[in-house]
């Protein structure tokens, strides 16, 4: 296996030198074409590598024909491109008068296919389109062949885009690992060591392998450099992993925060455990779904902005439901928190079934608009998805907005007054029933916002709100009642803790561990992280 590979490399190198001298040539030479059409697999690969090295754009029809199974051979003597209608001579490009019978297929195997793809990528590397070049260089990076070195050198001299240029340099370095010149090899290893790429680690590891009695890389200095480079890559990957874990933790935390923030307000204010909170989140998500569909059918040009349009609507719809629930049910149960809990659970059942009847029990599709899909690649093993970043930013905005409402508006002042002392607030003229309704609507509206955000990262189903209810209660319990800061810290802390534990113990055990930790924590601080300071007489 390795023997044949070195043979192929050597053949490729030889052909590359041959082809390099003929770089200006217009069409691929007849020998190469015949080798591809009629030679055995090794010959085909050698020829393809030669074409790749020459980066001869005239060879594109031939390669595409091979890729699409349109390249045929006629009795092993003539190579023909036959696209189902017309037949052309693959060497001269002349159209044949009539389609010859008995065309033989050119058979390829996996190795030939990958060589073919590399050759096509080599042609694309000089394309004027940035994305095509990027794809091409990524492809070449997967199979760095010394044969394409001249091509890479050439591409590097003209490449302006820094991302592509970096990738080109890494590819170049990978291809130079077996370069005869020790200095070149050392430089290549150093470049790869900086890349932080797990593939490069594998290539470097190859140098340290033993081939019989001797190392594949004979020079001890080079081997040492390779070892250092591998360590550097490992550090880089480890860092990426830790940062990735931290990011998913913060991302989960921001989701928890959005889900729990509304609950913190309603619970903090009225001492009401709203078990239908998850369903208010669900209503926000379904509102987003409806807005998405309406915009898609009525105003497709606005589709990219539909989440922004859905945000206020989701807030209003959920807030309206919340106000209704407060007026119809919760109002009549003040002072009976356990009954409120049961009644709101009943409401949640009704809401779930209602949505099930309207939209069906299956998940509904809420699509990410283009600007929310994909992500930015920060490190070789760390991609930050846009939708997660958007949710983190969104939750910061929502917290800031809630903080502003609570501290800077008249409603916020009343809400704080009622939270601290209902009777006293009532005595000095605060219309506590009105404040209750408004505050409950505010908390519910925030649940709607959470639903809008969650629809961008997960499935939306009638009972998906129930999945958040236990978690968001834990956040509120941990954070302490009536404390915005407590909710924020608790949500982020739980999110990060959960993801860190997940790395060691798996998702389920991590979740269990977090719940146990919370239960133990409550032992020490029954009032949560941030207890309201003061002296209270319990009920």
């Amino acid at each position: 296996m390795t023997l044949t590979r070195t043979l192929i490399c050597k053949a490729g190198l030889a052909l590359c030198l041959l082809a390099g001298s003929l770089l200006a040539q217009a069409r691929p030479s007849p020998e190469l074409v015949m080798q591809i059409a009629t030679g055995d697999n090794d010959a085909k690969i050698a020829a393809l590598n030669a074409i790749a090295a020459s980066a001869d754009s005239e060879a594109r029809p031939l390669l595409e024909a091979l890729r699409d199974d349109n390249l045929k051979s006629l009795a092993g003597k003539q190579a023909i491109i036959y696209d189902g209608e017309t037949a052309t001579d693959a060497i001269t490009g002349a159209k044949l008068a009539k389609v010859p019978e008995e065309l033989d297929d050119v058979v390829t195997n996996n190795r030939v296919t990958s060589a073919l793809e590399a050759a096509l990528a080599a042609l694309d590397i000089t394309s004027t389109d940035r994305d095509t070049r990027l794809q091409a260089v990524k492809h070449l990076q997967d199979s760095p062949d010394p044969a394409i070195l001249p091509l890479l050198d050439k591409a590097l001299t003209t490449e302006k885009d820094s991302e592509i240029a970096t990738l080109l340099r890494y590819t170049q370095a990978s291809a130079q690992l077996h370069h005869p010149d020790k200095a070149v090899r050392m430089a290549a290893i150093k470049t790869l060591g900086d890349s932080g790429d797990p593939e490069a680690r594998q290539l470097l590891g190859g140098l340290l392998e033993k081939d019989g009695a001797s190392y594949k890389e004979a020079d001890g200095d080079v081997r040492l450099a390779a070892q250092h480079a591998i360590i550097a890559i490992n550090h880089h990957l480890k860092l990426g992993e830790i940062l990735g874990g931290l990011f998913t933790g913060v991302s989960l935390g921001s989701i928890l925060l959005l889900a729990a923030l509304g609950l913190a307000i309603t619970y903090g204010l009225m001492g009401v455990i709203n078990m239908a909170h998850g369903e208010l989140i669900m209503i926000g998500a379904y509102t987003t779904f409806v807005v998405q569909n309406l915009i898609r059918t009525h105003a497709p040009s606005l589709f990219a902005y539909y989440p922004l349009i859905a945000i206020p609507i989701a807030f209003l719809v959920s807030a309206a439901f919340g106000a209704l629930i407060e007026r119809l049910v919760i109002r009549h149960l003040y002072g009976r928190p356990l009954e409120t809990l049961l009644a709101t659970w009943g409401i949640s059942l009704v809401l779930i079934q209602l949505v099930r009847n309207i939209f069906g029990a299956q998940n509904v599709m809420v699509e990410n608009p283009a600007w929310l899909s994909g992500g930015i690649q920060v490190m070789s093993n760390l991609i930050l998805p846009w939708n997660r970043l958007a949710i983190i930013a969104f939750s910061i905005l929502v917290v800031a907005g809630v903080a502003l409402i609570l501290t800077r508006t008249r409603l916020g002042l009343f809400v704080r007054a009622v939270t601290q002392n209902r009777q006293m607030a009532s005595c000095v003229g605060v219309a506590t029933p009105r404040v209750d309704t408004l505050a409950f609507a505010l908390g519910s509206g925030i649940a709607g916002l959470a639903g809008c955000a969650l629809s961008q990262v997960g499935n939306v189903a009638p009972d998906f709100g129930q999945g958040y209810i236990v978690d968001s209660f834990m956040v509120v319990v941990l954070g302490g009642v009536g404390q915005l800061a407590g909710t924020v810290y608790a949500a982020l802390g739980l999110g990060v803790l959960n993801k860190l534990l997940e790395g060691y113990a798996g998702a389920v055990l991590a979740k269990i561990a977090v719940l146990v930790i919370i239960i133990v924590f409550i032992q020490k601080r029954p009032q949560g992280l941030f207890a309201v300071k003061g002296r209270f007489v319990e009920d």
């Binding site: 009549h332 009976r336 659970w345 009943g346 059942l349 719940l515 239960i519 029954p526």
Partner: protein
Amino acid sequence: MNKTLTARLFGPKAWGFLLAFAILALIVVPLLNLAVPGSSPLHVSTYWVTLIGKIMCYAIVALAMDLVWGYTGILSLGHGIFFALGGYGMGMYLMRSIGRDGVYHSDLPDFMVFLNWKELPWYWQGTEHFLYAMLLILLIPGLLALIFGFFAFRSRIKGVYFSIITQAMTYAAMLLFFRNETGFGGNNGFTDFKRILGFSITSPQTRVALFAVTAICLIGALLLGRYIVTSKLGRVLTAIRDAETRVMFSGYNPLPYKLFIWTLSAVICAIAGALYVPQVGIINPSEMGTANSIEIAIWTAVGGRGTLIGPLIGAGIVNGVKSWFTVAFPEYWLYFLGLIFILVTLWMPRGIVGLVGQLRERLRGKETQA
């Protein structure tokens, strides 16, 4: 209020009802099922025996809930875990008694063969002995409740906080039992039971025997509950419910009282679970779901909290309606259940028993007027 209610419900009439129920469940139903031929209109089919047996298990759970919620004011949203643990304990015994009659004809339960396990995990050792399994059914949920309750009550977690934490505990346990690695059959739990104490589990005689045992347990739990709530201990529990701080100021430490009733309630729940599994033929982690545990509270609330007899009525009515509804209009069951939750809490805080009491008082009022 509660004193008069308890006294009335356990007056001579109530004892009469209890006796009638005992005769009905222990003699009449078994006879009608086994001795009366299937063609006769008086025949009670095995389906009904199983259904009523199942509902009696629920009634025991509702009674256990009434002891902690109705009398002590502790609303647990996690009683499903004790029920399920009792069920799993019985399930372990039933799985072991399948022997080599499983699909894979192995000494191990089928799901372990399926997971390619070579030997029983340590906590399965000895479960083939019925008495040991029964001991586990009482001890494991009891210990869990004792430990959990000790920590929760010691730091004076109460009210909705306690409810939420019990919910979290049960949720965590559900996640744990859903894992295959936990060794309790994962998603599918235990099923395909063959025999109990050597008797075929599907035979009508076994079914009727299980039915009768459940009825005895139900009556026993009711009498035990009555004994407790009418004792001095019961008075302290009610006082804790009404004004815990005052009880403390009067020199009582609520911790042992709460801990006792909480643990007892958990053990009663576990017994109900253990009786439930052989009758229904399956136990899986969904029994620990959030919704199941909250439903227990509504059975109790529908019947009337703090009345002992009310929860039994509530469990019977809600589950009776449920088994009819989910067949006739499965679409609307959740609406119905949801509305029960809302309406009962809004307008029937004392449940059906309270409603009956109100009606009676009104009738009596009319009589005295006339």
